[in-house]
Symmetry: C2
Amino acid sequence: MKNQRIQERIEKLRRKMEAENIRFYIVPTADYHNSEYVDDYFKVREFFSGFTGSNGTLVVSAEEAGLWTDGRYFIQAEKELEGTGITLFRMQEEGVPEIWQYLEEKTQESDLVAFDGRVVDTAFGKKLEKKLEAKGVKLYYEDDPAAGLWTDRPGLPAHPVTVLPDALCGVTTEEKLAAVREKMCREGCSYLLLSKLDDLMWLLNIRGSDVECNPVALSYGLITMDEMFYFIGGRAVTPQFRTYAQDRGIILKEYADIIPFLKTFSYEGRVLADEKNISYLLYKTVSERAEILNQSSPTEWMKAVKNPVELDRMREIYLKDSVVVTKFIYWLKQNVGRMELTEVSAADYLDGLRAQTEGFLDLSFPTISAYKENAAMMHYEAMEGSCKKLAPEGMLLVDSGGQYLGGTTDVTRTIVLGAVSQEIKKHYSAVAAGMLQLSQAKFLYGCTGRNLDILARKPLWDMGIDYKCGTGHGVGYILNVHEGPQGIRWRFAPGSSEAVLEAGMDVTNEPGVYIEGSHGIRIENVMVVRNGVKNGDGQFMEFETLTFVPIDREALDKDSLRTEDIERINAYHKQVYDKISAFLTEEERTWLGEATAAL
Amino acid sequence: MKNQRIQERIEKLRRKMEAENIRFYIVPTADYHNSEYVDDYFKVREFFSGFTGSNGTLVVSAEEAGLWTDGRYFIQAEKELEGTGITLFRMQEEGVPEIWQYLEEKTQESDLVAFDGRVVDTAFGKKLEKKLEAKGVKLYYEDDPAAGLWTDRPGLPAHPVTVLPDALCGVTTEEKLAAVREKMCREGCSYLLLSKLDDLMWLLNIRGSDVECNPVALSYGLITMDEMFYFIGGRAVTPQFRTYAQDRGIILKEYADIIPFLKTFSYEGRVLADEKNISYLLYKTVSERAEILNQSSPTEWMKAVKNPVELDRMREIYLKDSVVVTKFIYWLKQNVGRMELTEVSAADYLDGLRAQTEGFLDLSFPTISAYKENAAMMHYEAMEGSCKKLAPEGMLLVDSGGQYLGGTTDVTRTIVLGAVSQEIKKHYSAVAAGMLQLSQAKFLYGCTGRNLDILARKPLWDMGIDYKCGTGHGVGYILNVHEGPQGIRWRFAPGSSEAVLEAGMDVTNEPGVYIEGSHGIRIENVMVVRNGVKNGDGQFMEFETLTFVPIDREALDKDSLRTEDIERINAYHKQVYDKISAFLTEEERTWLGEATAAL
């Protein structure tokens, strides 16, 4: 089946490319800030390819169009690219070239390779420089060559920002700026260039709403030892924020002026900038005028270690959010087969429950509601009309979270709606066992996620099954649901940095099984690293679990669980009952008693 | 109690330092090749400090003398440094400065810091350059400022080398040289500078005996695209080796001529050299004349991946060696309390059994025989006269191995001689459980030892106990018992490289418990990485165990073991009985039947 709309768009693009003598056009999925989620304004790749996943890069030439995406999206991309003439490149699979390798092979001397330098990250831009400029290929990056082809493109957002009360933040902007400047000084830098939006929000104790589910405002910051220049759309600046900024020596500038400003600024010293988080155009603009110290911004690490005030708010919010999800599970099990339900209507019900919760601001990401084999697509998005109807059989995977004044949540449960196969039970039990084995880990200070990942994955690896993604990521505080530098992953990338798990860092724990065409299982809790015993052997660390939602007993296969797994499930379920039963109705509580009974 | 001898030596050194205006004198523990074991000629640090451990660095100034060593040696160093006036610096413990930090703090402008540049590794030399030269401190490194103070110093060894038959090597020197040159070419290098002795032996399919327990010859190599210059003591060159070398385009040079040669050589292109494995003096000599590509030598990785011929020989040799150790355990249990036995005499008996084994060449390291609390010292060396007598109580830790024509072995068992406490049983059981949990790991291709280490350590970490060393290291093939790049360790060092575990790599698996003043437990098997199932989720890897020696049932506490641990112990013991019982006497076989009976 031909996808006329996409083929026409690509045709239009190719004509434009021909007119401008562009041999290859690259469209990654990014805004100007390397945010994971992007506002509609930036959905150029989706516009030209039809692929809606959150990660993917389109490369178009006269002869071929290819889309690169990762394992989470292989199944979804295959579906969405059908009939577009676009080839799917499955990243990290054997024999699949990386984009630079593909371009290195396909380009010839004096070819022009074009991309919008504002939406391309520095590493990728530099890689292209190194690999392509060496063979005489030219790069075009100062603006977007395809600008104008998308005629009904939405406008660039600039919603008013909110200043958070100190009681929610624990640390003031003045204190954060002082700590950042201390670090700049220690590194011998006179400036810190910040383009990462959640870092800017964290630093200024403000929140915005320019990106779906991310409470951030499009902006840039240049911090000097005495001042801070803050580039933000004029419409976003409320009188409250203007005063707040003035009182703290923060000079407000128009968002669009960042590049002209950096081109005319008098640099007196090195600029600390994390090349991972500044666009290639920012990198080129600054590096041609000053020395860059390429290093993680101190804000990244500081933001990741939640302070005691933040942790207290998070404990409260996670409890409320756990109650919401537990109520949802009860409602779903009660009503499936009794009323018309779909993936979307179930998600809507859950979203509605969250929206009624005190302090609710927004979802932290679009709720994933995936029934049966749809759940094998890790980031499947159900669509009204095309989505599956729910029946009293199989399982529904629901991955969801909220933005609250008090924290950002992220939780997944895969819920039994009726009969499930023995294979599914075996997989579900292994996922639950792995998740709880990681939750209960004791480890010496100095461990990173790479040391611990195998605890979650082991029951699956023992069966020859893997999930093609990390086990866990950091979670923001009233900020992005995906946050670094902490994480639980196993893969080794030479030279890459790893974050030692520090007390106060929060991290998700979400192993899964994804069997294409059959079923998908994921169970996800959020945990906080805390100090355990300290003795002559060192400081031991452990996790505190924040999420208290039952694991589905109907999908647990007692025979395939080890004694210690059963003990862990029973202990977790006792906690779930103790913590949330008080917030349920009588009926819900009775059900929860059964749902958390010892195996 | 004053250690007169050491204090006098340090006094002599201080007078010499004063005469030469040297403010700090640094003596690491290394030969000219960064070998782990060193010939007596190189034991300068031991000469001046009295500390006999295999790792340690002495730093002497007019006011202070300090010895830095790692966790394996804290207990031993404390004992040996008593009365010397030398302060022990416990590396990696909280608040203990690294040597460069110590020097950075203590030195002042125009101070002279001296060391023998041939025995200092490049990284350390460069670190000192960066940290000290910046503040105007001068480095002295072209020779050893303390040469001459050690009047009865032994001579530099140069024993005749042996050429190995092809049937033992699997791959010829010509093939190895071709593969190395292919890699040099791919990296854009015209030369490979090799100083690592086991890499040189592996490459040339020869063995030497210049270092105790290491079948290596002191030598250097410079490989060009057509030739190889091989620097070795004239006395080491047999007529057989001279012909062998000539036939392969290998030009023999005198060992001592390496520095003059490198100073006058006409470099036409880059030199590949692993700065980890060349001395600071080699580094300075070459880097002042040519560009160095600092990278692991291709020989390191090639040597680590054992070929099928080597693996077959190793399986045979490990079986023979396992029989030796099992016979030893039986003999020990039979005779303790019935005859006079000491740590040393027990080790001698074991060494004697090994020496009678077909193909035996040497021990692969001095046998560690440590009774009761002595076993808490990880690398304790029992001395005739001062060592402990064995009695029918407690445990004896024996870590030993042999060099055979067919492989290098390394095995540890901690053997019950009589009554042991419940605490010891609990610790022993946890060590056995961790060792076998790691042995049975299934993991995706791409994992390194850092992903797996926690499997061995988990039962101990769960109790708040750690062992202050890695879990495993590579083992050479008729070569050094410690070999890289593979290993099983958990600690993260930013920027350090990790070796993906490749099929054919061998690695030890040796968790332990070390309780100062009480007891020490270590159980060590050697394993080889091999391919497991391959499916859509990737290539799974697993380990093949080479060591088949019983784990002491008398120290296993069934109640503290999980069902799966018990199953693993029983399965391993069945293998042990099946593989080695045929090589035992009737009496030994009967005992082994009981020693390996299912728990």
